[in-house]
Symmetry: C2
Subunit: 358 residues, 2 copies
């Protein structure tokens, strides 16, 4: 845990003296024992600074001391990992003193981890740890080299005779291939559930789902034609549909539906989290869809759609559920409180992992 004291290294002082540009090193955020959080920011010139966070109903103003350090202590917060940012006058920015940045292409926010009295399912616990590998692969579909992350479970050995099932796990619309580990802690969730014997040891593949300036259907092609073959030729995995799952959040939840439901011979598990489905690909696939529901229901071992009741996509997701029910495709809904957040994402993943490959 971070110290509440201001920690200033000798090196910081040197740099400050040399460049005369760096602000003083301050500690922010500090998570206090009562789970209140103290945020700090240094500015001698700002007129107003507020903190915005997904643990707050509305932004809160910081106040300034005579040394130019602005701060606020927000009341105790429910243990979880939350994104937040500062609005310095009209400029939104990540907390400059917090190393943990939300991996995203559109915004720069920080994340703060409020530990539970008992370790949470996404917490670093004293259990065997899997590892995350950053891999480069050639995408013939997109004509470029792309990066994906691969979680291999504790005890994984590429040469053993054990073969693993694989979950393909897709991030949200402006996220990156790192968001599921850096914000979603998919690796710790898997480590903990595997240690508790609540989840099967599995490989989790976290691709980069954005294909701009190409169009979304290219990602479906990429998963089928490039990513799955790359994984299956480089890892000891089970290569049948009962050993493949696809899951994703938001835009990735929509991609999950497109990828999974047009390839039910390849994926027996489809888990869509708060899907964004206002896309041409979804319309094309499902507007005049005449599925062979009996066949699909036999192929799928699990088809679930999760959403929070305060999610801005809640009404849209309810319509998705109605559509699939109307087509007689068995779908399980998992409706919880909360919004379109990575707090819910972690909960959805922790729930899914316990249902896969059993």
């Amino acid at each position: 845990m971070r110290k509440t004291l201001y920690i200033v290294s000798a090196f910081s002082f040197i740099c400050f003296n040399v460049t005369a540009q760096r602000p003083p090193a301050i500690s922010s955020p500090d998570v206090n024992p009562d789970k209140s959080i103290t945020f700090r920011y240094y500015s001698r010139t700002a007129q107003k600074i507020i903190v915005k966070g997904e643990f707050l109903k509305s932004p809160l103003a910081m106040s300034k001391d005579t040394s130019g350090i602005w701060s606020i202590t927000v009341p105790p917060v429910k243990p979880d990992i939350y994104p937040y940012s500062f609005m310095v006058d009209s400029i939104e920015l990540a907390d400059p003193n917090n190393t943990y940045v939300f991996a995203n292409e559109r915004f720069k926010r920080s994340i703060v981890d409020i530990p539970g009295d008992q370790p949470l399912i996404h917490s670093l616990q004293n259990v065997p740890h899997g590892k995350i590998s950053y891999r480069l692969y050639q995408s013939a579909t997109l004509g470029t080299t792309r990066q994906l992350l691969v979680y291999t479970p504790p005890g994984y050995n590429p040469n053993s005779k054990i073969k693993y099932p694989v979950l393909y796990l897709i991030h949200g619309g402006s996220d990156t291939e790192e968001t599921w580990t850096k914000v979603g802690r998919a690796n710790f969730i898997a480590d903990n559930l595997i240690a508790q014997k609540k989840a099967m040891p599995m490989i989790i593949v976290m691709p980069y789902g954005n294909v701009r300036p190409k169009t979304m259907p290219d990602f479906t092609k990429e998963v089928i034609n490039d990513i799955i073959p790359f994984i299956e030729s480089n890892y000891p995995v089970l290569a049948d549909s009962k050993s493949r799952a696809v899951a994703g959040f938001s835009v990735g939840g929509g991609q999950t539906l497109n990828i999974g439901l047009t390839n039910t011979d390849k994926f027996a598990y489809i888990c869509s989290y708060a899907p964004f489905t206002a896309t041409e690909e979804f319309q094309k696939n499902f507007t005049n869809w005449i599925p062979d529901a009996d066949k699909i229901n036999k192929q799928l071992k699990l088809f679930t759609i999760s959403v929070g009741t305060e999610d801005f996509l809640y009404e849209s997701v309810k319509k998705n559920l109605e559509l699939f029910k109307e087509k007689k495709v068995n779908v399980k809904s998992y409706i919880v409180p909360g919004g379109h957040t990575w707090m819910n994402c972690k909960l959805f993943l922790a729930t899914t992992l316990q249902e896969l490959f059993k």
Copy 2:
């Protein structure tokens, strides 16, 4: 390469409509064919915006169009990877439209990659790629779980009979265990030099070097007592001094001298880049140092100190070199133009890798 056009996904529009808070998606930075760079930032309220970058002698002001988009095109820049930031009025921040953030604990800057006409040594090239693994290990020295990154070379197989030499590569003072890959591209440099047969296939271990609130000597202990044993029990490596190297930049360059020169039985290669040595540990180790220079010179196959002539540590590094020469310890200096930068870091590493384990 990024498109010069403004790319706005359907999802961005949706979010913008829903929250009315997100600025428009704009493209920044755009590296133009002539290697000029266009930076953009959206603000309707800012009075002045400047771009600061290590490719600029002094900051340059942006200008605003009628839609609130500020921009500037800076003249052609020498191909390399550079950190930069925006000063919006008095607030320094990373480019919100650039995903690539400088991995650092103190500041939030962006990085921009100017490709060469021919691929540079740190560029992604069409060669076999190694992989980077994020590993957790228990540090008995620090009483906590820590993370380090491990580069394994192309074709690496943990079960083959091939055993690899290991470079322990340490970041700068406020950097993180990710800075050597995310900013220094250590993995691409190694991939390319191995493909050209200019470097031996090796494992590169990138630990997290900061030990606050503990003191620097604890990191020396951690490397010897925790990190090396973790690597040597989990990877097929050669465990003799001729197969171990230590290198590092800035504060990590100072750590390299402390770790390496107090353990010449363990490291035959010591490569220090622009070392910061105004530390108690360095003083304690070297102020009244009476080395057995003959023995050390026999143990070490390479001891090199690199620095740029415009580095703010240049005079200090010259004193370090004098000290070691005075003590009759053979040290090779590698003096180049440039400052205390990650551009030079990449150059130093690319030079070092060609001299290791031969």
